[in-house]
């Protein structure tokens, strides 16, 4: 087995709260410098920067998981990742059809722009991306899994936009491929709080909104090679594959 360092929760400039320096090129540069092998691109309710970052990252030997950080109707944030660009586009359609049509005001929320590899703006997302979809947690989970994706509730221990803040505690029996925790807790601590989640796989990522934070939370994947299937197998500990959170 080989070990790979993964940061599966990175925003880009497309997220309204994402720093203007979070261009696809800058993210890939920083990730390469910090020895990241697997990068998860998860903008709020949008997958549009994934394919370009994937292409740029390939040249640096970084594997990219393309997806989004979905805001459910309960306003719980959940990471969703997909195997290829075709399925990613299908999920983008789902996001587009369920995101409320509220116009972004960049003065309050920040800019939402899609860039090309030369950092030129090719598109401006008009709809506010941080709104909640009109789809419940369970509906989002069903759609992600219908498309063969990975469903990972984000920063579940945090007091904002998490399962615990919005729903009081992590729902029993939630169909998640893993649960993401922040640097403020450990798998042991959170399992003590919610004993029924002790058997889940926990990941930690950076939730980076600016370049400095990229790689500040790392999960190690032990698996044969880097592919969507191998990552899924590692999260589910199949055939000796596994993950663990890197110590600071």
């Amino acid at each position: 087995m080989n070990q790979f360092r993964a940061d599966l929760h990175v925003h880009t400039v497309l997220s309204p709260c994402g720093d203007l320096e979070m261009s696809p090129a800058a993210i890939v540069e920083t990730a390469a410098r910090r020895g990241i092998d697997i990068l998860g691109i998860a903008d709020h309710n949008s997958t549009r920067h994934g394919p370009l970052i994937s292409k740029l990252a390939q040249k640096k030997g970084i594997f990219v998981l393309c997806g989004a950080e979905v805001t459910t109707r309960e306003e719980a944030h959940c990471l969703a990742f997909f195997e290829n660009f075709e399925i990613l586009a299908a999920f983008q359609q789902y996001l587009d059809s369920h995101l409320p049509n509220i116009k972004n005001n960049p003065r309050y929320f920040g800019h939402q722009v899609v860039l090309d590899e030369d950092e030129m703006i090719v598109e401006q997302e008009e709809r506010l991306l941080i709104s909640g979809l009109n789809q419940s947690l369970d509906q989002v989970e069903e759609e992600v899994h219908r498309l063969g994706g990975l469903f990972i509730p984000a920063h579940i221990d945090r007091p904002k936009y998490s399962l615990t803040s919005q729903l009081g505690f992590v729902p029993q029996g939630i169909k998640a491929d893993a649960l993401e925790i922040s640097r403020f807790t450990t798998p042991e601590q959170i399992s003590e709080q919610f004993p029924w989640i002790a058997s889940y796989t926990f990941i930690r990522s950076s939730d980076a909104h600016h370049p400095d934070a990229i790689g500040s939370g790392i999960t190690i994947f032990e698996m044969e090679h880097r592919s969507f299937d191998e990552i899924r197998m590692a999260l589910h500990r199949i055939d000796n594959r596994s993950t663990h959170i890197e110590r600071h």
């Binding site: 309960e74 803040s165 919005q166 729903l167 729902p171």
Partner: protein, 111 residues
């Protein structure tokens, strides 16, 4: 006042938990953050919310609330309604938004 009387006076739909309509109402609590309800709601209160996830019922039973009122025509999810029947804590519904139904409940309970 019982939940049944309250439901009648506020013209609420009864989505589930009919066996709990005899529960006594001692007050109200309004919040959509379940962590907040878990920390701050009191026994016997009616909880007004737009959340429909089954955790709503887990918290309602943990805090021994009298009933839950879903606003703006929200309906309980299937497993939420099942748990409401099991716990015998009614889920009621209204087409009014939170502000308006809260005002009516406040008027009703302050007498």
């Amino acid at each position: 006042m019982t939940v049944a009387e309250l439901a009648e006076k506020l013209e609420l739909k009864i989505h589930s938990g009919k066996n709990g309509l005899g529960r006594e109402v001692t007050g109200g609590y309004v919040s959509d953050l379940l962590s907040d309800v878990m920390g701050n709601a009191d026994t016997g209160q009616v909880w007004i919310t737009l959340q429909t996830h089954k955790n709503v019922m887990a918290i309602a039973s943990l805090k021994d609330l009298a009933a839950v009122i879903l606003v703006s025509d929200n309906r309980p999810e299937e497993d939420t309604a099942i748990q409401s029947n099991e716990e015998e804590i009614p889920i009621l519904g209204t087409s009014l938004p939170t502000f308006e139904i809260s005002g009516k409940l406040y008027e009703l309970l302050k007498k």
